[in-house]
């Protein structure tokens, strides 16, 4: 690369508007064979829109798409796919009721006459999945898959299509570092074979690690496009947000934690988590780490009444029974889901209806005050920097802005104990910083926060204390300076329990049924 080859796919002065709102303004950049091209930018900058135009999912309002230097129009994504352009969407593009194999081959079934070659498709599905080390059963309905398995299925599906151009919109948002690494191996192999790969990510370390070329967008315009070499993560971040960025994580206060506000004992979530016990103090940020599938989400959902669970829970010293989410909400316990699309937001409704949905019975009496709702939305847009047309259906907001809206929605209930599950999934670095500050600010004002996260750095940078889960149980906790990557990984992988392995930087407290916050001072 670097040699002057003709671009395989390029945008020339492309603009796009939805109704009166223009979201892309005269965009131009090129994609070369055999390179990995990262498209980065803030939430709502227009990355997904750009990619959809490239792959023929949406028409451009003006400007040209050049394929091998010739202008083309894709009437349907089928046209683009026939030219070898394959895209993985930011939002899953899978039919939940259908099986893994049915989704893998949807629209391109292997056939013998009018009949399906079922066994052959299953075999190939298994093969394609194996390439990305995914072990989902081809016969399982997609709705039973975890988010990361769904993502791996999308990736495997795209890889199976022998693309000349592979476009991936935030493929790693729901992946763990392990899975990300598997994906990157595949990407490198594709690059060797001359495929052009374009992807977006808000994880700049990934961009740094794999991209050959970087295009940075801000407010629908390209502000930088050039080789990745010599561009540091910090440079990228500042170019994206257009201002200086200070420390990503807020300073940790050196105060002693307050009294215990939440005490959980023997929490069982059948099939997912067992013997969960911990305490949460006033003004504390407690992280929960673990591999995907370790049952963190289920444990927290069980705690908040979102799925059947048994156990003893005390809030502010009082034993409570939580059977349904409203019971939890009545006690000031509130959960922010990791799955904004199917559990978080009503995609067909407006921002106004979404932002007040949860808090409605508490804020309003019987009737809704429309003007009041508009005020709440004004505040939410301001506080969480939500960008996008006000009246737009929420499904048309950019992914990151959906996430911000979700956070705003949960905060409407004024929780005293806030459980957040992957709170910064799909959020750009500038906004991440704001969210971290926001959470720390909440804690400083006496709210207790739980952060379930697969981003190790986030836990290390933000949390006062971290619990680690493995196979549905808590295997240990780390506090203060002991919160390190190695320490977490050891507990998450189960290495720490082996005798004699307690070495290294992280000092590890082995699991017991109830872990007290014996924080070193």
């Amino acid at each position: 690369m670097g040699v002057a080859v003709t671009p395989i796919l390029a945008l020339d002065d492309v603009s796009k508007h939805f109704g009166p709102v223009e979201v892309l303004h005269g965009l131009s950049f090129a994609l070369y064979p055999g390179e990995v091209h990262a498209l980065i930018g803030e939430n709502g900058a227009g990355k997904s829109t750009t990619m959809k135009i490239l792959a023929g999912y949406q028409p451009a309002s003006s400007g040209r798409i050049l394929l091998n230097d010739a202008a083309v129009t894709f009437d349907t994504m089928r046209d683009a796919e026939e030219q070898g352009i394959v895209m993985i969407h930011q939002e899953f593009n899978l039919a939940e009721l259908l099986t893994v194999e049915q989704n893998m081959f949807l629209g391109r079934e292997l056939r013998r006459g009018p009949f399906l070659r079922g066994a052959e498709m299953q075999r190939q599905t298994r093969e394609h999945l194996a390439r990305v080390e995914c072990h989902a059963d081809p016969r399982a309905p997609v709705q039973e898959l975890s988010n990361s398995d769904k993502q791996m299925l999308e990736i495997a599906k795209a890889l199976s299509r022998d693309a000349r151009v592979l476009i991936m919109d935030e493929p790693t948002a729901v992946l763990t570092s392990n899975e990300t690494e598997i994906l990157f191996q595949q990407v490198r192999a594709l690059r060797e074979r001359g495929t052009a790969v374009m992807f977006t990510s808000h994880k700049l370390d990934e961009v740094k690690a794999i991209a050959d070329r970087v295009t940075i967008m801000r407010d629908g315009k390209v502000v930088f496009s050039g080789p990745a070499e010599g561009l540091s993560e910090h440079d990228m971040a500042e170019a994206m947000v257009g201002r200086e960025l200070s420390d990503l994580y807020p300073a940790r206060p050196e105060t002693v934690p307050g009294e215990v506000v939440l005490r959980v004992r023997d929490l069982d979530v059948p099939g997912h988590a067992r013997d969960i016990g911990f305490e949460l103090h006033r003004g504390e940020i407690l992280g929960i780490a673990g591999l995907v599938g370790s049952g963190r989400t289920e444990a927290m959902e069980g705690l908040c009444g979102l799925r059947p669970a048994t156990g003893a829970v005390e809030i502010e010293g009082e034993p409570v029974t939580i059977r349904r989410p409203s019971d939890a909400l009545d006690r000031g316990l509130c959960y922010l889901t990791e799955d904004r699309k199917t559990r978080g937001l009503l995609l067909d409704k407006s921002m106004r209806e979404n932002v007040t949905l949860q808090a409605l019975p508490r804020r309003a009496g019987m009737m809704i005050d429309r003007a009041g709702e508009e005020r709440i939305l004004d505040e939410a847009i301001r506080d969480f920097d939500i960008r996008g047309a006000r009246g737009v259906r929420v499904g048309n907001l950019s992914g990151g802005n959906q996430q911000k809206l979700l956070l705003a929605k949960v905060m409407q209930s004024e929780p005293r104990i806030l459980v957040t599950d992957e709170p910064t999934r799909g959020i750009d670095i500038g906004t991440k910083q704001q969210i971290y500050r926001f959470l720390r600010g909440l804690a400083d004002r006496g709210t207790s926060v739980i952060v379930v996260s697969s981003e190790m750095q986030e836990l290390i940078g933000l949390c006062d204390r971290v619990l680690v889960m493995r196979l549905g149980r808590i295997t240990g906790q780390l506090a203060g300076r002991d919160i390190t990557e190695r320490g977490i990984v050891r507990l998450a992988m189960g290495i720490a329990q082996e005798p004699g392995s307690r070495t290294g930087q992280g000092d590890v407290t082995p699991a017991s049924n109830t872990i007290d916050a014996d924080r070193p001072t």
Binding site: L346, Q358, M366, I368
Partner: protein
Amino acid sequence: MTVIGPVVALIALIVIGAMLNPNFLGYANLTNVLSRSAFIGIIAVGMTFVITAGGLDLSVGSMAAFIAGLMIVVMNAALPVLGVGLPVILLGVATALIAGLIAGLINGLLITKVGIEAFIVTLGTMGIYRSLVTWMADGGTLSLDFGLRTFYRPVYYDGILGISWPIIVFALCVIVGEIFLSRGVFGRHVAATGANAEVAHYSSVNTTRVRLATYVLLGLLVGVATIMYVPRLGSASQTTGILWELEAIAAVIIGGTYLKGGFGRVWGTVIGVLILSLIENILNLTDHVSPYLNGAVQGVMIILAVILQRGAKTGK
């Protein structure tokens, strides 16, 4: 969401009617049409809530027949004790409301708690209520005592300021329903449940209770409709309320509510009800059509009304 669509279809019908017959826009005809739309109208208001929450109820027609039969049996039985007068009527009213509430509750519980498809549950209860009224009437007709009927009759035929009671009650149901669906917390929860029950659940909406409540509300409104229906004919039989469920559902959908749930509007339903009633009324205004073909004209008009409506939408 198109606001203008259903209204355009309605206006077109009114123009046709007025052209066909000069009496069409007369006070007497309009009162007739509006009063008799009231039964299905009141039921359709409840149906709007059920459908918006993602449900369906096929049993309302037979439920109305059953409640009407029950009211008559109870009032006739109480007559020797209470005599003709307000107490008997109040007893009948209470019977209708309680029976409606219980019937709605049964549908709702089977659907939400036992978890059977609304289509199957209400198809089942549709058969059950229809049979029960046939059985109560011994295959014939249940009739309200004649004296009592004369006393109760004004509830259908009289009114205030020239507006008959059924129209007043219908209008009240519509106004309250519209306000609650579009501005009430309950209405918001209903729409959220229909749009995505899981998201609603994660937003602490008790979706089971919301869905149950829509069926109970519908049952109650069937009770209210029956209270207005009995004084009209003073009788109930196995043919009472036949096909009301289809008419109510059609009115709801013509009005712009989504059959899959998630969005509903009561005022649209009213337009739907009026469109259906006017089609029938207009067919009686002329003899250009063989009565055998009434159903065909009705079918064509329903489809045309919806096309007109959709057309007005895309036109905007």
